[in-house]
């Protein structure tokens, strides 16, 4: 009985892993597409840890600061929600948000079909 349960769970676990990996792949593809659209070919891997403090905000280019400030203020937002605040197009905000993720300043999390961007303030120490 115990053996059957283990065997029954294994394929489920494998499928779950495949789904997670596909989602991660999807995120990366989306970033690449957004960056290519805006003329950036030097795709970098996300930086592990780059705190979004005020001095970092100050040194950012204006277009990214506006997006980063909005996420700071709202806490957690989709590209649509950021676009609503900045009065810029959703696609533009999506590119900037993904760029901020690549730079290590924001984190991205998928919930269903929506991607949420946020500042990870609590440490995992």
């Amino acid at each position: 009985m115990a053996n059957e349960e283990r065997l029954g769970r294994k394929p489920l676990h494998v499928l779950e892993k495949i789904r997670e990996n596909l989602e991660r792949l999807n995120d990366k593809m989306e970033v690449m597409i957004e960056l290519q659209k805006h003329g950036r070919k030097d795709i970098q891997l996300p930086l592990a840890d780059a705190p979004l403090d005020v001095m970092t905000l100050l040194s950012m280019p204006d277009h990214l600061r506006k997006t980063a400030m909005t996420v700071c203020r709202v806490g957690r937002a989709t590209a649509d929600e950021v676009a609503e605040q900045t009065h810029r197009a959703r696609a533009v905000e999506s590119a900037y948000l993904n760029q901020l993720v690549i730079m290590g300043h924001l984190k991205k999390e998928r919930k269903g079909r929506k991607a949420y961007f946020f500042v990870e303030r609590e440490t995992k120490e």
Partner: protein, 255 residues
């Protein structure tokens, strides 16, 4: 509507604390629920100025994440005899605490910004405060920029001192503008601020800074004589400085 106000300056001694305390008292006298925060962790002064001898929790603790904001707030409404409410959140003046705050890293400052931003929900929305006033440290300090980023309105206290004028101009361009903050100037310690010169002073200030002028405070000997021990808005209701504060409060209420 400007409900979170950061009072900042380029140089020290321009009257930030005087302005913060008296504006907070002015709003409380008008029946508003106000909270004044000392964000000058390098040189805390509100504890002395408001004669608060001890506190169980400091603003430092809230920013460190070791207590919630309600533990930090001290009710001083009775001290200013107001219709409204005046609370304060104090910076710890102990040397060890000042040393501790000056050694914080970027990650800590990022979390501190998050906790300052969270005050909008906890104090304005949940606890129904009308105004939060941040008294800051001069220049480009982390705690001050965190306060500026969290605020709706930045009041810049400045004088006609040349290095102050130059520095303030730079900050307007390279700090407040970059964060797209609504900024107004309060000109302090003005010599010869007679009514006949009012227009000239206003035009000169607007010409220099290119932002609205909220108020002009003449150089009052009474303020120097008070040695920082008098809340004019409370103890000297007929003083010209109190009248100027009321005019500034009227303008802020309109925004």
């Amino acid at each position: 509507m400007a409900r979170i106000i950061a009072v900042h300056s380029y140089k020290g001694g321009t009257g930030k604390t005087l302005l913060s305390v008296n504006l907070a008292a002015t709003f409380a006298k008008r029946g508003k629920k106000v909270c004044l925060f000392d964000l000058d962790f390098r040189a805390p002064s509100l504890a002395t100025l408001l004669k608060v001898e001890k506190s169980d929790h400091w603003l430092n603790d809230y920013l460190n994440g070791t207590c919630e904001i309600d533990k930090v707030l001290i009710d001083l409404s009775s001290k200013v005899d107001s219709i409204g409410k005046l609370f304060v959140g104090l910076a710890n003046p102990a040397t060890e605490a000042i040393r501790d705050m000056s050694g914080k890293d970027r990650k800590w400052e990022m979390r501190a910004l998050g906790r300052l931003l969270a005050l909008r929900d906890s104090l304005l929305t949940d606890m129904h405060f009308d105004y939060l006033i941040f008294d800051t440290s001069p220049g480009l300090q982390y705690s001050s920029i965190n306060a500026i980023v969290s605020a709706d309105l930045v009041l810049v206290a400045t004088t006609f001192d040349r290095s102050d004028v130059d520095g303030t101009k730079r900050m307007l361009r390279e700090l407040y503008d970059l964060f797209e903050k609504k900024t107004e100037v309060v000109l302090n310690k003005v010599l010869d601020a007679a009514k006949s010169r009012k227009l000239e002073i206003e035009e000169k200030t607007k010409d220099i800074y290119q932002v609205p002028l909220l108020g002009v405070v003449p150089c009052f000997c009474d303020i120097l004589r008070a040695e920082g021990g008098i809340v004019f808005a409370h103890e000297k209701p007929d003083h010209p400085f109190t009248r100027i504060l009321n005019e500034m409060a009227n303008e802020i209420e309109k925004t």
